[in-house]
Each structure stands twice: as C-alpha cells, then as structure tokens.
Symmetry: D3
Subunit: 184 residues, 6 copies
Amino acid sequence: MFALRVDQEIELQLFQPHHAAELYWLIDTNRLYLREWLPWVDNMTSPADYQSIIPMWLKQFADNNGFNAGIRYKGHLAGTISLHQIDWRNSQSSIGYYLALHAQGKGIMTRSVQAVLNHAFHDLNLNRVEIRCGAGNKKSRAIPERLGFMQEGWIRDGENLYGAFHDLVVYGMLSREWANRAVK
Amino acid sequence: MFALRVDQEIELQLFQPHHAAELYWLIDTNRLYLREWLPWVDNMTSPADYQSIIPMWLKQFADNNGFNAGIRYKGHLAGTISLHQIDWRNSQSSIGYYLALHAQGKGIMTRSVQAVLNHAFHDLNLNRVEIRCGAGNKKSRAIPERLGFMQEGWIRDGENLYGAFHDLVVYGMLSREWANRAVK
Amino acid sequence: MFALRVDQEIELQLFQPHHAAELYWLIDTNRLYLREWLPWVDNMTSPADYQSIIPMWLKQFADNNGFNAGIRYKGHLAGTISLHQIDWRNSQSSIGYYLALHAQGKGIMTRSVQAVLNHAFHDLNLNRVEIRCGAGNKKSRAIPERLGFMQEGWIRDGENLYGAFHDLVVYGMLSREWANRAVK
Amino acid sequence: MFALRVDQEIELQLFQPHHAAELYWLIDTNRLYLREWLPWVDNMTSPADYQSIIPMWLKQFADNNGFNAGIRYKGHLAGTISLHQIDWRNSQSSIGYYLALHAQGKGIMTRSVQAVLNHAFHDLNLNRVEIRCGAGNKKSRAIPERLGFMQEGWIRDGENLYGAFHDLVVYGMLSREWANRAVK
Amino acid sequence: MFALRVDQEIELQLFQPHHAAELYWLIDTNRLYLREWLPWVDNMTSPADYQSIIPMWLKQFADNNGFNAGIRYKGHLAGTISLHQIDWRNSQSSIGYYLALHAQGKGIMTRSVQAVLNHAFHDLNLNRVEIRCGAGNKKSRAIPERLGFMQEGWIRDGENLYGAFHDLVVYGMLSREWANRAVK
Amino acid sequence: MFALRVDQEIELQLFQPHHAAELYWLIDTNRLYLREWLPWVDNMTSPADYQSIIPMWLKQFADNNGFNAGIRYKGHLAGTISLHQIDWRNSQSSIGYYLALHAQGKGIMTRSVQAVLNHAFHDLNLNRVEIRCGAGNKKSRAIPERLGFMQEGWIRDGENLYGAFHDLVVYGMLSREWANRAVK
C-alpha cells in the first residue's frame, strides 16, 4: 500500500504481512526460472515462510537499513527490489532484484533500479551503490551495465548456489557519476 | 518516499528518519495552533526529538501495528495521520490526525481519513475504526461526523492536556457501514 | 500469598506460578458459565496454559502496569480481578473481573472492586477508572452501576466473542467522585 | 499493598514503585546503624535510587525468583526481608533482612523469617534455606540460631564491606527439620 | 583454538561450537564414571546438546563472567575446567572440573586448577576462589586439599543428584594465601 | 590469556576487558602512524573506549562470528588481527589487521595472517577469505600479495577516511588454493 511511484506503469510497494500470499505465488509460479540464480528459492515452500520474513524486512526498514519492495507493473506484482543493509559510516549500500519471466523485456527493472538510485543518492544521501550479479547471469548483469555502473570486481566463489560456489561480479555507481549522468 | 496515494493532490507518506527536520518545522510553525488540542506539542523542542520518535513509529509499522504518515498536499507536508495500535483480536483500531492551519478548508483531512478507512477495512480487514476527539475540538469532530461515524461515547476526563483533564468524544465506524456508504 | 486484604472474608491474592493448577481448576469447573462472556475461556485447556500466562501477569505488575489477582473468599479461590494496563499520561486504567457461579450473590465482587478502586485512586493516584462490560451481561453491568459509575459509552462491535462481535458498555468513575461517595 | 500477613502486628508487603520515598526514609534515618553491616547503604542517596531498584525487585519476583518485601509493624515500615535468587535445580534459596534500630527487641524479625520459611517450604516446596550473616554481626546471627538453623560454614573474606573483606557465617535449614520443629 | 597454556603437556582451550562433537564424545565414553557426581550427565544425549550450550558458555565469557575450557593433555581432550559466575562486588568466583577416567593419576587436574588460580588472582584480580565438591567425592576433594585450600563449610543437601540430595564441602583459597604459597 | 599460538615468538590473544589499558596504550603511542589508514583511530580517546568495545568483540566471538585478538610478539602487544563477521551461508569471511611501527619488518603480520588462514580453513571450514586494503596502503597490501591472494577487485570510494573517500583493493584466497600452497 505504501509505495514509491516510478512512473505511470510502475510502483515499488513496501511489503507488508498481508502481501505474503501474493509474493509466494510470484515465487511459486516462477520457481524454475528464479532458482537458477537465487539461492533461497528452494527454502520458500509456503506463504507462511513470507509471513515470518516480511516482518524482518520491515524491521530492517524501521532501523533505517534499507527496504524490500514489490515491483508492481500496471498494478500487478512482477518482481521485487531491495536496498540492502546500509553502511552509513562509508555512505554505501547495494541493490538486489529479480523479475518474473513474463515481465521481462519491458524495461521494468531498469526503470525500477533508476528510481532506487535516485532515492539512495538524493533522499538517503549515499555516496556509492553496489550491485552484485552472478558472473554467468547475463540478464542481471545487463541492468548495471545499461545504467552505466563500473565493473569493479570479480569475486571468485562469491556465492553458494545450492551447494556449488560460483563467481560474482561487482558493479559500483558513485553519487557524482549518477548526478552527471542525469544531467545528460 | 513510500506513500499511499489518496488522489491527484494528496498522498500519505510513511515517515522515515530523513523527514525529521521537515516534520519539526511543521510543528514549530504551527505550535500555538496545534497545542490547543495536542498534549505532546510542548515536548517537541528540536528536530532531534523526531529523530528518536520516527524509528519507534517505523518499529510499530514493522510490527503490523499501524503507521504514522505525513499528509502531503501538492507535494508539501501539511499534517499527519496515523493508524494507532491495532487490536487484532477484536479487529479494531483508531485514527489520529492534525493539519497545519494554512491547509485547513480544502477537504484534505476528510479525503485522507477516507483513504485510511479504505486501507483499514479492505487491506487490513478490520471490523471497526474509532476516532477520539476533544469534546470541544469542533474542527476535529467535524471529520468523523462528516464521514458518517456514529458517536458512541463521551469519556469524562479522558485526556490530560497540559495539566488539566478534558473530555473525549468517541466515534465509531464499522466495516459494513463503510461498505454500504461507499456504494451510495 | 501476597494479598490485598478486602475485609474479614475476602482477599485479593497476586497470582504466582504455583497457583496455576488452582486457577485452571476454577476455570475448568465453571467453563460453560464463564465462556458466555469471556472470549479466552476456550483457549485454556490445561494448567500449563496458566504456567505461561502468570509470569506475563507478574511482568506487567513489575512494570507498574496493573495486576491480576485471585479473589479468595474465606480462603478459597472464587474468581479473579485485574487492574489492566495503566495509561499513566492520562492517569487512568480499567478493571476486569469474573466470579465462579457458586460464589455469586454474596457481594464478593462489589467489595473486591471497591478495594481495587481505593488502591487505584489512593495508592496509585489515578484520576479515572473504567469498566467495560458486554452489553448483554447483566450481572457484570450491575457492579459498576451499584458502585455509582457513570455510563459513558456504548461501543458497537467492541469485542469478538467466539467469532461474533457484540457491543460493550463503557462505565467511568473519577477520583473526585469516588472521594465524595466515600464521604457519605 | 500486596502483603503476606505474618500475624496481627506484622505483614510483609511487596515493594512497589510508590513505596520508594518511604523506603528511602527508612534507610536515611538509620544510615549509621545499617551501614555497619550492609554494603550498599552508602549507594542510596535519594528516593530515586529506589525508583530504579524496586522495578528490578519486581522483575525478579515476576521471574519466580524470590521477592523483596517491606516489614510493616503495626502499619509502619520497620525493615525489609527478601528471599534471594532461587536455585530451583537444587531446591534452595537464601533469606536476607534488616530492621530499623527503633524496631529492635520486639521479635519482629524472628516472626518475619518464620513466615518466609513457611512460604519457602510450603508454597514454593524448597528443600533448603540458607542465611548468611557477617561473622561479627551478633544481632543478625541470633535470628537463625534462635530458629534452629545449623551453622554449616564460615566463609573467609566472604563479603566486601566498604573496601574491607570480612567473614560470613552460613546457616542452613532443611525442609524436614522445619517440619519437625513446627510439630513441637 | 584459543587456549591458556598450562605447561608443555596441558592447555585449557576455550570451547567453541566446532568442539561440540568432541566434547560429547568425551562425556559419552565416560558416562557411567561421570554421572556418579555430575548432575547433568543424563541430559546430554547428543552433540546437538553442546551446540546450544557452548554459545551460552561463550556468552558468559563475553560478559566477563568466567569461562568453560577443555583440558587438552598432549593435544587430546581429557576433561573440562570452568571458572563460574564471578561475584565482582566481592571479588570472588568458584572453579568446577572433571576428568575422563583414562586421564586420572597424571596430575592433570592439579596443574590445571593451579593455572586457573593464577589467572583468577593475577589477571582478574580476584580475592577469593571457592571449590565445592560432593562430600563423598574423594577424587574431587583431593584437588583443593592438595593445593592448600581451607575447608570452610559443609552444606547439607547442597545438591540434587538425580533425585537425591547430597552434601557439598566448601573449600576456599584467598589471594594472599596463594601468593604466599607460590613464594615457597 | 586465551591465545592461539603462531610460533615460538608470536601468539594471538583474545582481547578481554582487562586488556583495555594495554590496547589503548598501543594505539595512543602509534596514533599518527595508524590514523593514516585506520578510520577509527581518532575515536579512541581513553582506555574506557576499549572497556566498551572489547565486550562487543567477545559477544561477536560468542556468536561464532569471528574474533579480535592482540598480536603478542615475545610477550608484548604489537598489533591486532581480526576475523570479521562470518558469512556462513557462503562460507566466507575477511581479515583485518594493523601493527605498531616499532614491530614492522619482522614478518610478524605475515605469520599471524597465515595462522588465521589455517584456523579459518581448517577449524571453521570456510571456503574463501578476503582482505581489503586501502589502495595506497603499500605495507598492508604486501601481506596478501606475499601470501598468494588474488586481487579480485578495486572498490572506488570504498571507505570514508576522516571525511574523504578512498579506494579499496579486494584480495581473495580460496580454501583449495591455500591447501595447495601449503603443500609446497
């Protein structure tokens, strides 16, 4: 219900407990697609799992430590986007996201990440935002690359995905770069 | 940033820590006007007071126990509205609100309360919403009366206002009444 | 063991964990009678339920936030009486109570509530005490009416009783009224 | 207000926050007398100290872990008595106490300790109760000796009293001994 | 891994979670021998029990409130030694220990207790250290007697051992005694 | 007192509260040297600062989440080394360290990091260990380079050092690499 409006089609809605069933449905109907790159998909076996996770997300939000939001495209839940734990001492945070298969190819995620970057740099005054993608996850890596992030690192064995380690690519965007880019 | 949109002019924005200064400014520039009926106005002596209160409001929101939102009218902070602690066992809660002097007379509060009622009855599935007003506070009492609440009680000495007790009037709206009213 | 003495026959004894079995027995032998107006009776299915509730009551007492006491009539547990959460800012609280069927008609509850009112107004310095009764609960309503409380409200659908909402009547007594009454 | 009645003259009243001033007055008017054997007397410099200690005592009581009570003699606060932390695994606890100078010589403490022993052995089902006294504190040691405790130990340097260590004498009473004694 | 070195053969290693299986094995292979004097042996039924106990021990250590260490003799776990809760106000604590049957007779425990006494008196600046032994536990009592502790008490029914109470003997060592002894 | 022995000259000693003064002295006598690359040096203004930090380090250790240890060279405190928060899901952690000026050039840090790597890979079974150094901090970067870490990233504006952001270099070592290296 409480949402950050991206544009006429998209809004990013803070997850509240009454969204648990809808969010579970999104995961459950995209399970095979999402589990290729998301390590926690198999842990989600019923809406009740989100009944306990959503309050933790809201607690994180209440601690001024990022948020987890549903991406609503024309009113329907199409994916999620999060601003992870904020390192206030060093003015940085990172963004995570995923989109249902049927919602691909409409620029939804690019527009959503832009909105979160604006929020991070303007409202929260952060200096740097990071995105980490599986090295082989082309769709995910296309987002920061399209938005002008710089590739800053390649973390070997950075993530355990269902028992096997794979590499992560680190992308960074600085506040001053985003400001200059916006000017263009 | 995360907001419930009421209509083209109004949105109800969850308070986050970076809103502390703006909220304090609203109180400080309406101090004499607001303190007539709000018992806590004198306690607010600097933006730092809201730096510690806003996280408690967000904690309450994270506990699925209501919210505190700024009323933005054409983008500017004009007042606040809250859904207080929720009595889930009995499916009820209460609404509190105030508006800056300069924003009076535009129907802002009536529209905002309507939106919160819709949220309470539809999203949260509550059965009853209460509003309590100072018995002598005509402007505040006009809201529930205009919206069709029933006057259910008159609590003698219900509130301590700067050392003196005054009476509170209790208004109630039931889910089925709101549904019927909305149909008209 | 720690008790507030009402008179030669009655004392109000703070519940401690070793009272769990006795309190459960009271509920269990009055189950049909009590569940007509008490929404939690069906939840009490063994003494163990009170093993976990009594510490919460004592925690509330330790927080200076009311108490839960057994009403002992000639040494035997006959009912309970509680001073609910205290609203210290507004100097008010409310009283709840029930009595076993066999202990009715002896003035036990009237005397017990009087003692709690004395405690609330004299020891705790409260300004107002409220009693809420089911609108159809004649026995319960007779207590505040006999003691001179004023009927201040009628809350529609105020309580969920085993799936159905019913109305609550609100009674209020002010400190100055109680003082004057005591003089007579 | 909630009290354990010892006899017609004495009751042991659970300390609540509204007793802070009275308890401080007791300490303050007996300061020189009490500090000879009580290590914490100098720390008590205003009623506010008890405002923060009493809630901790009540928390301990709520945790089923003993109590702190004022000894009221003919209605007036004359001293305190406590059942310390309870070792439930081994069914034992210890008792501590002190009496104002003016209340000495009336058997008040002997009767109070008897009542606490009855509570400990009968209500709480403990097997053993200990009393520890300063080795040179004759008045204090007279209590367990008069009540038939056995001297079980002499702890060298058992307590730090204002910078100097002194010895403690350990007295023990078992449930079966108390039962036999009560028979006589 | 983090260990206090006693001498060339012995070190006292802080228990960490990855030691749970090894510690359980020690108990399990000495079960009959250890349960004669240790009341908790029967509660240990799988390594998982230590998975939850070891973090509590470490929490106690983090609170500057003693420690629990494995006694490693020539690299192998042979027993445990602990410095229990510390009474900082009175500068005292107590030591507990046990040794596997096969490791008896090598002076392991005497040397280990010496090292803990040095730590307690020199690093932690305690004034008194206590050891409590079952009155009939000759092997255990031999340690403080050999090290020059003074027998200070005999606590009747001091401990509940699988349903039966037995007596405890209290031994004490003072900092100044240990210093003098060390000089010899 | 509890220490991980590196070799005959060096041990890594868990910080306990009684080390606060010694650790402060280390910082205070190396203040100018250390503050060039450590962002928190100016916050340390008295031993009391470490009195509150050390318990938090121990709490982290108790949570199985890394440690903070003093590097003792021939018995004297020469620097510190820490294993930071552990990401158990992905089996990785990071190491931080600093050395006093006078202790440079003896291979102390290289040997200490080797010992922590052995602990991380063998005792804790981690898969990856990271070291992050200021891009301009040659001495610090020499450690992972000498030990065969791979440079995996260059994080622009990765750290705020007294008001100015500077870049961090990320080095990574995998368990299998360390095992192979050790064989040589």
